[in-house]
């Protein structure tokens, strides 16, 4: 079915990459033939992103060789532009597009067709139309990228790569932000590209799409290749076993809590991307919210935290109306919050560990009459560093010096230390190493068992299943299904997350 060439499109041999404290890639081999869709799988932190960064010239490997079409790339690519020149192209998880420019302008950016030294706009539009037609990537060349839905923006990214003549496309978690229908459309495009002899490397941790869309699978775990499988001859179970390995323990399902009084009650909440949403969380209970990214979970949590205005509905915390309370008032009334983005929102990376740990406590326990004694800040930091096992050489080092897992421990420790009746947690273990994941899960369970209410938003189904006493599925801004701990198996949740539990039954075949 594919045009076979003698040499593999991409051949990585013995790639080793060490970061302070972790061995991200340990002698990884990866061979991708021309015209195949090759899935690179693994859990968060398995080393997939590092491997692709090495391949794409964003990081330099400590050891190993890279061959493209049989040609050795001495000491790897120095930069992504070198990689592009060799026919590679990457679609990052967060798109790198100019929202205020048109599709055509974005596609030809940095490789513009020129006429008399000026950008030839007509040629650019023509080129985009040709490419779009040729590859079934219908998109209006004159549309402003900022106005397009996510699925179409992804097409623009792919067109950009095709315009620059990429023969091997790397897609990093391409379906994380897509609706099921958009994902299906994407795979149709990828298959047709492969049929034309282009090569696709798909970085993902989703089993279903790998089984449906790929030819071969390479599975990474803890920086090592643990399995090389032919998709047609393998099963979801086999891949999952390879991915999780000793991490199977991660799928440990914690014993249920003993829910008591309602702490958080939400009725008819409406805000951006959230419609008429109702939920309750009781003391001693973890309520998990599952859903494909972009179905209103972030907006819901931000509204609950007081960072996004509520347009309709009512929110009560311990029977007190907080619908229109500010973020500060909510915190005073008993809300703590671990945001999804720990670098941009949850911490100030340039500030010291002590200063980061003081945030939120600086107005309450640590201050008196407007003064904030440095000794109190230091002592507080020392206490939390010990209690939560945060590995920092001193409370004075900047938070940016901590590893991802330790930074997350800092963030979660700080918020748990509020002892607030309600804790909102978003993606608590994203990009966190395995040891830290268990630590964080144990902390959350202990917090629940000491009688606090926890609302957990996570894209990791295993995390939701392991921690949550009840699971709500969000789809297009609404809660479309509610499951007890026993009902919430992976298949049921997966179906509901794809819209199968609500209105869009036809989307799932």
């Amino acid at each position: 079915m594919t045009r076979r060439q003698a040499e593999p499109a991409v051949e990585l041999r013995g790639i080793t990459k060490r970061f302070p404290g972790t061995l991200a890639n340990d002698a990884v081999d990866l061979t991708v033939r021309h015209g195949e869709i090759h899935a690179l799988m693994g859990e968060n932190g398995a080393g997939k992103s590092t491997l692709m960064s090495v391949l794409y010239g964003m990081e330099r490997a400590d050891a190993g060789t890279i061959r493209i079409d049989g040609r050795a790339i001495k000491s790897g690519f120095g930069s992504p532009s070198d990689a592009m020149a060799a026919g590679l192209g990457m679609v990052h998880q967060s798109f790198k597009l100019f929202d205020s420019l048109t599709v055509a302008e974005n596609v030809v950016y940095a490789a513009e067709p020129r006429r008399f030294g000026l950008v030839d706009r007509a040629a650019a539009r023509r080129r985009v139309r040709e490419l779009a037609e040729e590859h079934g990537l219908a998109v209006d060349p004159d549309a402003r990228v900022g106005d397009l839905p996510v699925g179409l923006r992804q097409r623009v990214e792919i067109l950009k790569l095709l315009h620059r003549g990429a023969r091997t496309l790397i897609l990093d978690e391409p379906t994380a932000v897509l609706t099921p229908a958009e994902a299906d459309a994407l795979f149709a495009v990828l298959k047709s590209l492969a049929a034309q002899g282009r090569t696709v490397i798909l970085v993902t941790h989703k089993l279903r799409e790998v089984l449906e869309g790929s030819d071969n699978v390479t599975v990474l775990r803890d920086g090592r290749v643990v399995a090389r499988l032919v998709t047609a001859e393998t099963s979801a179970d086999e891949i999952a076993a390879a991915m999780t390995g000793r991490a199977v323990e991660l799928d440990r399902v914690h014993a249920p809590g003993t829910p008591a009084d309602v702490v958080l009650a939400v009725n008819g909440l409406t805000t951006d991307a959230v419609h008429d949403l109702a939920l309750t969380v009781r003391a001693g209970e973890i309520v998990g919210i599952a859903g494909v990214a972009g179905n209103g979970q972030s907006e819901l949590v931000e509204a609950l935290a007081g960072l996004r205005p509520t347009t309709a509905g009512r929110v009560t915390l311990n029977s007190e109306d907080i619908t229109h309370a500010s973020a500060t008032e909510r915190r005073v009334k008993g809300l703590a919050y671990v945001p999804e983005d720990r670098h941009a929102v949850g911490t100030a990376p340039a500030a010291s560990v002590a200063d980061n740990l003081a945030m939120g406590h600086h107005r309450t326990s640590l201050s008196s009459r407007g003064l904030l004694p440095p000794a109190a800040v230091r002592a507080h930091a020392q206490r939390l560093v010990e209690r939560f096992g945060i590995k920092a050489s001193s409370p004075e080092v900047p938070a940016s010096a901590l590893s991802g897992g330790n930074l997350q421990k800092l963030l979660i420790g700080r918020e748990l230390a509020h002892d607030a009746p309600l804790l909102l947690v978003e993606q608590p273990t994203r990009g966190v190493d395995i040891g830290a994941i268990q630590n964080i899960h144990d902390q959350l369970i202990a917090y629940r068992d000491s009688g606090h209410a926890v609302l957990l938003v996570s894209a990791e189904l295993s995390e939701i299943r392991g921690l949550a006493d009840r699971v709500l599925v969000m789809y297009e801004g609404r809660v479309t299904a509610t499951y007890t701990k026993d009902e919430a198996d992976e298949r049921t949740l997966g179906l509901a997350m794809a819209g199968g539990a609500g209105i869009a039954v036809e989307a799932v075949d």
């Binding site: 970061f19 500060t328 340039a350």
Partner: protein, 346 residues
Amino acid sequence: MNNRISGALRSPIAFSVLAGVIIGALFLVGTGADPIAAYEAVLTGSLGADGIGSTLTTVTSVLGMALALAIPLRAGLINLGGDGQMVLGGITAAVTGLYSPLPAPLTVVLALLAGMAAGAAYAALAALCENRLGVPLLVSSLLLSYPAVSLASYLARYPLKEPGSSLPQTRSMPDGVALPAFGDSTVTVGLLLVVLAAAAYWFTDRRTTFGYEIRMTGLNARFSAYAGVERRGLTLKLMSVSGALAGLVGAIGVLSFPYRFVDGSLTAPGYTWTGLTAALLATAAPLGTVIASFFFAVLQVGGLAMERTTEVPRELTQVLQAIVIVFLAARLSFPRFTRRKVKEAV
């Protein structure tokens, strides 16, 4: 202690200043001048018996403006309207000084307060433009500056103009309406006020809840918003304080020699921009801002002395300033460089 000293030497500021001095010396050699004599002239001219008074007077204005700009900068806000706020403070102090019915000492206090209030209100207006209308502070503060300067200029040229004078200036302050000076120098109590303001800034920054929130907002605005710091309120407060300080500098300028408002005399020496540079140099840290202000005052006054005694043009000291700033700006890219090196070394 030892550690501290080597740390200070390796600090980017010390490095930048040193680099500036060395490159400046090369310039001097290139123009055929003796760099040691020139630098000696800068130092004796600014710190010697004849120059120190002039330097301290300059420090009063430069440090005042540096503080005015550093305080919002600590939270990541840039007030570009220092000129307007300072001039409004000056003209308001002049009007108060000329027309207040109170006894002279009280009039001085009133004039200072009025000057601060005028500067604060005008800066608050810029903050409101951002908070309510969404005009970026950078733009609103800068653009509001021009009408304020023009208004003061108009007042000094027409309604308040000193009768019979050919200069665009107000009448001289009544007898006794002046800040007490030290000895027979031009250094006034104004210096003390500005130093007190610096001390208050240091204390707030290091030891108060408010100072902590300002610092965290400057380091990551989304982080502080997440924890409940209300940004609009913070902008308004910081701009008011900033404007009050700029107004204070203007008022001090009117209540010291030449004891009147002279159109252009407050803005011509460029205190606002020197102050902004000092604040940026110190990344708005309180102590650093004081040191940088002093450093620039020395350069400014010493440059004049150098021109007198060695015939090296004083523009050289501006070259020196520029080099220091360029090196400091480059520092922004240094950390990345070192971090990568560390990674490779592991």
